[in-house]
Structures are given as structure tokens and as C-alpha cells.
Assembly symmetry: D2
Homo-oligomer: 341 residues x 4
């Protein structure tokens, strides 16, 4: 960590400040320039609070040199993390994995049929929302516990592991046999929830917050990993910008950047990112080309009748077409489309 001090800092202030770090087993190197003095902190500075340093009146600026995340950093863990749920259903490494299903679970028939459809087309994970975060308290809030029950039924019928969103740590008891727990964009910084998920031995699909930086996202992954659960899958789902023609702005350049920074797998959600079904297929291909490890795609048997997000859902036929295309393209990007065994 590099600390630039203001020109008027006194020798005594520097000494006191250095002593403070010494008490925390951090060594301080001082470098005196023409216009300013710079301190360099040596040792493990991950617990040092940048804000604390910034608030000293004699500090001009602080800059981290080492990354504030450790467990998620590729620096300390160079090989790709692969999350494996058996039957060939894994995410990370050379796999290109597709999670598909409806935005909301609506009925036993709907979810079971869709599960079969998406499996048939080549998906290896079934998604479906039971607890739905909705902007309006008057909108459909999901089937909740009953929805989870129906997902379990669909899994029994198809074997596909299920991925579904949690909205409160108080619901954890209901998620015990869920295969992958999804944390939605709005809960990316629900730190109390992240801490609880860190205690589990279960993959967590962590969506990027609506307007969170890549570093904040990796720090949220770090919350889960610091608790002992290292099975984190990152999911880019678009960020909020001034553009309103698409629901969000899909940040695909984040994919190769994340591949440099972290060993965690990264999947892309083109459905929520664009909000328009006609843009989903090109964005699926673009995500693969950008280096993603997989996709999470909304598929609905009857999009116009969907209880939510129908405008961005593919029909099973459209989904099958996308999967054919991805299967053909994957090898060009050193990936193999994940196959259920």
C-alpha cells in the first residue's frame, strides 16, 4: 500500500503513524520527494482500512498495490476452479455449461415440461425462481416454498441439478437440497446473507449487483469464501447505465478481465442483461466468444403468458436453436459444451 502524504506533514505525525502500523506487524518505508513524502506499507495489508488512512488530515491519497481479495485472486490460486455436481454437470475449466429454465416456477406441469425441454436441448442445469424479488409489493412474488417443491419434482424427473434464488438467510432451511443457490443482483451486498452462505458446502451463483464494480463483486465473493465455502460462480447480468433501450448494459469485457483476476468460473445472463428475447441469441454467442464458462438463460413454454420476464424469454424451440449454435461454436473457443451423463 502506497500512501502519499500532504506537503505540510510533520515528522512527528509520520512517526506516530508509522508506529501505529508497527503495532499491526506492518513495516513502513518512507520516501521523501521534492513535493511530498510517500510511505510504503510492507506485510499483509488486506485488513488495513483504506478509509482509516484516508481520513488522516495529513494524507493526500492512498493506493493499494496488492489486491484486497485473497481467496478469489488468481495470484494465489492460478488454476481454474471447477464446480462439479456429478453427471457431467460442472462449471469452470474447459466446460461450457448452460443453466436454463423459466424466470418463475408457475406450476408442476410447467416446470417439469420445461425441465425436459431444456435438458433435451442440452442444458445441464435447471433454473427457476421460487422466491422473486419484485420492485412492486403488488406484483407476483413467486410460489415460494411450493415453488421449491416443484423444482425438486422436476429434478427428480430429469436429473438436472437445480439453481434457484435465495432472498433471505431465514429461508436457508428450505434450500438444504437445492444444488446451486443463486444470490440475486439486489442481494450482492447483503453481507449477512453472504456470511451465512459462506458456512455451507454448496455452490453459490453470485450475480453482479446492478451498479457494483468488479472489485466490489470479487469482495462479495470473498465474503462467501472467507467463511470457508470456495464454490462461488460469478454471474454477469448487466449493469445499470443511462441507456434505456436495453434493460441493462451487458458488460462482456468483464469476462476476460475476470479471467485474469480470479480463478472462479464466470457465467453470463443475457436474458436479464438485455430484457429482449431477440437479443439473447447473439449475446449467447458473444459471451462464449468473450471467454465465459457458461450461460444462464430464461426459457418459457409460452413467453407471452409468463408471470414475469416473458419479454426476455426464449421458447423451447428458440432455445434449442441457440444450443445447436453454441455446440458448434464452442470448440473454436477451447470449450466443450457440457453434456449430462
Amino acid at each position: 500500500m502506497i500512501i502519499v502524504l500532504k506537503p505540510n506533514v510533520s515528522e512527528q505525525q509520520i512517526e506516530e503513524f508509522s508506529r501505529y502500523f508497527g503495532e499491526h506487524s506492518i513495516r513502513v518505508n518512507k520516501w521523501v520527494g521534492d513535493q511530498s513524502t510517500v510511505l510504503g506499507l510492507l506485510g499483509d495489508t488486506s485488513a488495513v482500512d483504506v478509509d482509516f488512512i484516508q481520513q488522516q488530515e495529513f494524507v493526500e491519497r492512498v493506493q493499494r498495490v496488492s489486491k484486497p481479495y485473497k481467496k478469489g485472486s488468481r495470484e494465489f490460486h492460478p488454476t481454474d476452479t471447477v464446480v462439479d455436481l456429478g453427471h457431467g454437470c460442472c462449471i469452470g475449466g474447459d466446460n461450457f455449461s448452460v443453466i436454463a429454465g423459466p424466470c418463475s416456477v408457475e406450476s408442476e406441469e410447467q416446470i417439469t415440461l420445461l425441465a425436459r425441454d431444456v435438458k433435451q436441448a442440452g442444458a445441464t442445469f435447471l433454473r427457476g425462481g421460487a422466491f422473486k424479488p419484485r420492485t412492486s409489493p403488488y406484483a407476483f412474488q413467486g410460489m415460494r416454498a411450493e415453488g421449491l417443491e416443484l423444482l425438486r419434482h422436476a429434478r427428480k424427473e430429469t436429473g438436472l441439478p437445480i439453481v434457484t434464488e435465495i432472498m433471505s438467510a431465514a429461508h436457508l432451511i428450505l434450500f438444504e437440497d437445492v444444488d446451486v443457490i443463486q444470490v440475486g443482483a439486489r442481494n450482492m451486498q447483503n453481507f449477512e446473507l453472504l456470511k451465512e452462505l459462506g458456512k455451507l458446502d454448496k455452490p453459490i451463483l453470485l450475480k453482479r449487483g446492478l451498479s457494483n464494480t468488479i472489485e466490489e463483486w470479487l469482495m462479495s465473493a470473498e465474503y462467501i469464501m472467507a467463511g470457508g465455502n470456495e464454490k462461488v460462480i460469478l454471474c454477469e447480468r448487466g449493469i445499470r447505465t443511462f441507456e434505456t433501450m436495453t434493460r441493462n448494459t451487458l458488460d462482456l469485457a468483464a469476462i476476460p478481465l475476470l479471467k485474469e483476476l480470479t480463478h472462479l468460473p464466470v457465467v453470463v445472463d443475457p436474458s436479464h442483461a438485455t430484457g429482449k428475447s431477440s437479443l439473447v441469441a447473439p449475446m449467447c454467442a458473444a459471451a462464449l466468444a468473450a471467454g465465459a464458462d457458461g450461460l444462464i438463460i430464461e426459457v418459457h413454454n409460452d413467453p407471452p403468458r409468463a408471470m414475469c420476464d416473458g419479454a426476455q424469454s426464449l421458447t423451447p424451440a428458440q432455445f434449442t436453436e441457440v444450443m445447436e449454435k453454441l455446440k458448434a461454436l464452442a470448440p473454436a473457443f477451447d470449450k466443450t459444451l457440457n453434456i449430462f451423463k
Copy 2:
């Protein structure tokens, strides 16, 4: 609600669509233009899902005419809501109320002394964080339950009602005698938490999310009010933009706009909004001038030693100066600085 249909819509589609609304007691008026057909929905459309309509392939565009929030709307509730906690401590109406205290509760001595200082200077509410949302899992997370205990102690000493942040519905048991529960920016759309708070009979200070629109914010207030708890205080604390010189961008124009849209009181947090103590005093005055009902200000006895957010904290002496200024200015804006009795 106005629905513009695509030019190629069929008569049958329109009929089926109209029948659908008929089943929900909503009448549909049709208007046929040169290039397109427009439907107007009559009746209570607050439960109609805009997304559902948008996802019909024959729909070009949807536009709400009536507001999606009801309980928070000034239309149906023209007089200002005033939250009253006794001893003259109220927020809303002609009152200009100041909530002050440290970012984090750090010790009994610290919080008690600060409570006395801010009361002396004219604050009528004591703030202090016990549960702290921090980007890094390795940073100080607050004194948690013990911090709440110390806040209670400071209240006993001074009489000031306490305002403190909740991070999980699971902690509600600890917040029973907290006077005002704060929902932080990162939890503005933690809907499960909002629902729980809606069951209480206790004021909720609802901060605006980092990148949430004013409408989404009012919808989150609606979550609380729909549950029966109408004591919601809105708090503007800056939004995330491309500008990095200030911590966030304080959206003061939101204040007079909210005064048109809602009857709920609105306070401003200039400390988090700017992140710089030197900007707090001018932004306090600007918030008053913009029509705010009060402020929430970070005050710390020794900002450089603060365990968090020291860079944006005022010293008690600086705070006293701000209060003198506000007291003198308030009448020019038809407000009276709230006084503890």
C-alpha cells in the same frame, strides 16, 4: 395505462387481450389510429404487471398513467406525514430535524460523550452504527449486539431517540426498543427485510439505493407501508455516477421532486453523499434550501481515529457551528430547527 400495439396486431389478438383484462375487472378502451392501435386500461391497474404486457409480441410500448405506488403518493394523502417520537423529536411538516452521531459505535465512553455533544449542539436524534455493512469481509464489522447496548446506554443518559441500521431480519429481536430503524442503501431492495419491517409499528429510515431511481425508492417504501407500517422516512444519500471525486453524487433536486410526489418526510445524508468533511457544511445548508425535512450527519470526537468513515465526519466543534448556521437559516425556508424538550 396506455398500451400501444404494433401495426400488425390482429383483431383476434386484441379481443383475447381485452378479455384477459376484463377477467381482472379492468375495462379496455380501444383507439384505432393511422399507424397503430392504442388500448387504454381503466380501473385499478396497480397490480397489472407492465412486464407481462410488454412481453406480448404485438405490444409496441406500455405507459403507466397512474403512479404504481399508492400509499406513499401525495395524490391520495395530501398532507405531510410527521413522525413523532416525543420530547419534541419529530421529523416532517415544519420541523427541520437533525440526526447525528458517529458512523460506528466504538465504546461506551465514545458514544455517550458524542450523544451529549450532539444534543448540546441541537441534534434531536442520535445515530450510531452497531451492524456495519463493509465491502471487505476483513474490515471492522461493527460492535453488533454490544453496540446496540451502548446506544441504549447513551439514550438513557441523554434522552435522545436512537437511529441505527439493521442488516438482517434475523436481528429484529435485538432492535425491539430501537427508536428508528435504518435500512441502508445496499438493502433498499432487500424485499424480505422490508416486508418484515412493514409489520412493525416503528419508524423506518429508508436510504436510497446506490443506483436506484426515485420510483424504485418509493416502491420500496410502499413495501413497508403495504404491510401496515406507514412511518417511513426517506433518506437521500447520493447515487453512484461516473464522478469519483466525491464518494457519491448527492441528488438534491430529488428533494423538491419527492415533496411533489409523496407525503413522506425526506432527510439528507451529506456525509455519505460526499465522503469529505469539508463538503458537509455547504451541503447541509443546500439540503435545507432544497426543502429537506432534516439531516443525518456523522460526528466523531476524533475523526482520524474513527473506525470507519472518519474522512467524512465532523468534529463536535464543527458540528456545533453547522447547527448554529442551520438554526439561523431555517426560518427563511419555513422550517424550525427541531428542539429536544
Copy 3:
């Protein structure tokens, strides 16, 4: 155009308002609902000022039904526009075309060598900045007129058409034999410049502004086309968001969306969008996958010594590798890599 009126509008106001439109050959249909009255304008409303309507005190909201751009709209011009400069150098349709070269022209040797290198690798257009928009007045401002001279020389040597940025209509005299004139992001709404470019018979590569919406961008293209010059090539180069790890946020979903809205060709600039050379190759592939008609890529013989933007430049060797990859991938996306003949 649909105009929702406020509940308290008077009959007389509606009549006067309708008469106003009548004078502009626009018919008005009135539809009276429970809570509000809606007017529908029929006829050519492209010259109707939305702001003008919004400012009537009895108007609640206005919504365009037809698009405000005409010449750029695919509705009125369904087939793709192809810009052709001879020797097989064209952009649009089935072509996938690559424009490559250094950020700045630095010397005769540099630009000539790079022109040969990028031609050898398969680029069909040479880019190079002569006039450089720099944030600081103290930074290198480009070789200006001399730089254009060197570009002409490189064209003579290789045959590649040249693409270079104009910063002022006053420089037009120097751009007479430039093949494609580029309008940079900062000048996307320099309307006086756009009007001048509209008088030419020469392709204009119009970059999207730093924080301009897709609709504003199409309206800027419309400025050029309204003047008579229909050879506009759009260039997505990233938008400004809160994320700072990449220079900008590349909005790839804009590509398939633009393909629906307009017949104009769209290219992508992954170099400026990301600001990091390591992200350029994956973003090139992703742009192709998203449906782009081509790329504009920065290539420099010695990136660390580049006078600007070296951090995002590829070496000729890296560029050659990217081109090999694109050549192999293009057919999967129904494109053929453009070849110089």
C-alpha cells in the same frame, strides 16, 4: 404520438391545442378515459417537438410511437447499406471488415510499416490519427496536417483506404481525399460539424458519444443523412459508466439492437472500449459473434513507445493472430472477412 393530458384539462385547452396541430397538417384523435384524456397525433410528427408538448401545463406525458429518425430507420429502408471504396474494401452486408493502424501517426516510417503490416494480416482499411482530441492541452495533439500527408503516403504504398478523425469543420479542406472521415466520440453531437459532413459524398464513421443513448446516436447519423450524405458507418466504442477497471464499458448488445433499428453498418472499437490490449482479442471475437460488420483496432509497432494509447494497442504479431482467428470464425456468423483485391 400519444399525449396523455392531466385530469383538470379544459375542453377549450384541448380545442386550442388540437387547432395548433391542425395548422401543421397533423390530425388529432381524442380518447376520453376515466382518469385522463389521451390525444393521438396522426401524420408526420417527426418535426413535432416533444419538449414543446411537454411544456404545456395540462400535459401529463408524451410518447412517440413512430421513430424520430427516418433516413436511418430500417423501417423505411429494409436492406443493409453497404459502403464500398473499391478494391473489395467495403463495410456492411455480408462483409466483415477490419480497420487497423496506430492511434497516432508518428512518422513516415511508422505509418508506412504499420500499413504494410496490417494489410499483410488482412486489414482492408488503414486508421491513424493526425488530429488527436486529448483531455490535456499539454499532451501531444497529433501531427495534424503533416500526419494526413503521411497517411496519404502510406495509402500510396499499400492501396489501403484511410480512415482518420476530423475535429473541426475548418479542417475539411485538408480531408478532401481522405477515404473515410471519422467523427470521434466527443464530437458526436457537434451538430455544426455533422451538418458540414452531410454535404459531402464520402463515408463518415460516426463514433458513439461517451454517454449518448442509441437513439441520440441515430439522430446524429440523421443529421448527416438529412444533408444528403447517406454513407454513415456507426462505431460502438464503449460508454462511460461507474466501472473504472476498463476504460469504458463496451455495449455489445447495442449491435443486434442496431441491426433491428437501422440499415447502417456497425463496427466496434475494442481498443478504446477496454483500454487494455489483453482484452482486445476476446472482444474482437465477441463483436463478430454479436453481429458487428467489422472492427477498428489499434495496432502499433512498439506499443510501450506509442505516443498515445499504447496500453490498448496490439503488436503486428498479436494483430495477425487475431485476424487468423476472425477469418476462421467469420463464416459461422454468416460473414466473410473482407479481402483487399
Copy 4:
């Protein structure tokens, strides 16, 4: 300037790099830490290109210590710049100055009457657009040269200096006797225009770009000042964010921040910032409270009939009321409302 090098940098690379700076009269100090080596540049680094440094493969990160703007910096010019146009019409220092008038000049009668009205109410500068930047080529583009003529006429009638926007350096000949030339948000980084304005001896009102940082804005001011024209007035007019309920987001915290960074006067445009006339009065008061040196306000005799921006214009009566309020408030903020003598 502090340069953090990557761990794998070689001694030779450091030596060569240091030699490069030596050639530019910049001394380099090296500091070797545990994990990384840091270089500190001493001397005048304002011409050093941060990008150039960043693009060296062995550079991890660069950080400026000194500010990249010199002429605009308060560091080197501690006293406030006051722009004085005679008759008591000045901006800066203790003055609080109001520029008022219509968005567009529409006719001799309109501009003359409005000039009288705003002078009567206490404005000391007349604004009025002759050249109008409009998103659509089909919208009213202003009266252009004729509009300037009418402004001159209004000045002759009232004595008020005129403030009007330039859109191209090619129009400079028409602006010779304009008192204050305005550069609009869309031209804030039209560097060729800024350079031309730098050659004049005339105040320039420089609006902040739609999505430009405070530092970029100060660098644009620097373009004008570097040319020799130090009479720059900054104008905050709102930035583009995700919020759409107001036209832009007025960044009032930028005012006290600018007061720390620069000696240049700063005015606020609440009309464009909010886009809603009902928000103008509170934002005028808030701007004064935040420390602004003045305001630029749109006033129209008949807002609903205004040719542009009527929705945000005050009537002369509303404007008079705002002025009365500001006159009463100014002394509380150590300002005196500017009076025409």
C-alpha cells in the same frame, strides 16, 4: 507522480525507463519494497502522459500527485478570479450574479421585453440562444445570425451584457461583440473550439459536459487558459445518470469542491439540470447555499409557447419571486446579489 512497477520488472528496464525521464528533465527516485518497486518522479510532470507510462508492460499502476491543471488551480492562484463587465456586472468573489433570459431568441419583441423583465427583477446578464444544439436535425435550430442581432438590440435597450452559445469556431466572426461566449455541454471537449476561444480576450462560460468528470472539466478550462484567456466561468448544469425523472442530476457538491480546487467562478444552471420549472426555485436557493457565484436561469414570457425548453422556464413573475428570495438570502452566505448600475 508515483509509478508502481510489477514484481517481475528487470533492473535494466528500470534504468532505461529512468533515463527516458532524465531526458525530459525529470528526476526519478526508486524505492524497493517487498512486493514491488515504486518510482517517484520529481520535477514538472504536467506534460508527462499518464497513458504512456501505463502502457509499459512492467508498470502496475500510475498515480499523479500534483494536479494536471495549472492555470486553473487554486494552489498557484489562491485569490478568486472575478470577471467584470462594467456597470456592476461581475461574476466571482462576493458577487452573486444572475444571468437570465429565454432558451431561444424568438423575435425582437420577445427578447426585448424579456430583457427588460429580467433586468427589472435584478438579473445583470441577459441570456438567449441564437444557435441551438438540438438532438434532432428536424427541430428548430435557432434564429442564428439574426438571433444575435436581436440580442444586440436587447442589450442596447437595457444595457445588460449578453451571454450566448457558440457552436462552431467558424461563427466566431459573428460573436465579436458578444459579452460572454457560452460553450455548451456538448462542446465541452470540442478542443479545437476551446483553443480558438483561448485566443480571445473575452469571458467564456464553460458548461460541464453531460458526463464529464470535474477533472476533465478543469482540463477543458485549462485549454482556454493555456491559450492566454483566463476569463473562464464554470457552469454546472447537471450530469447524465440513470435517473430519468429529472432531465439531469444536478451535482451541487461539485460547487464547494470546485471552490477548493480552483479560483474560477462557478455558476449553476438549475433550468437545464432539472428540466422542470417547479424545481428551479428550490435549486436556485440550494445553489446559493452550496457556495455558487451565480445562476443562469431560463425565463420566458409564455413558457407553453416557447420554441424550446418551455417546461423548464420560469415566467417573469416567477422569476421576480425567485430574485426577491435570493436577495434576502444572499448575505447569509457572504454574498451580495449583483446589481446593475
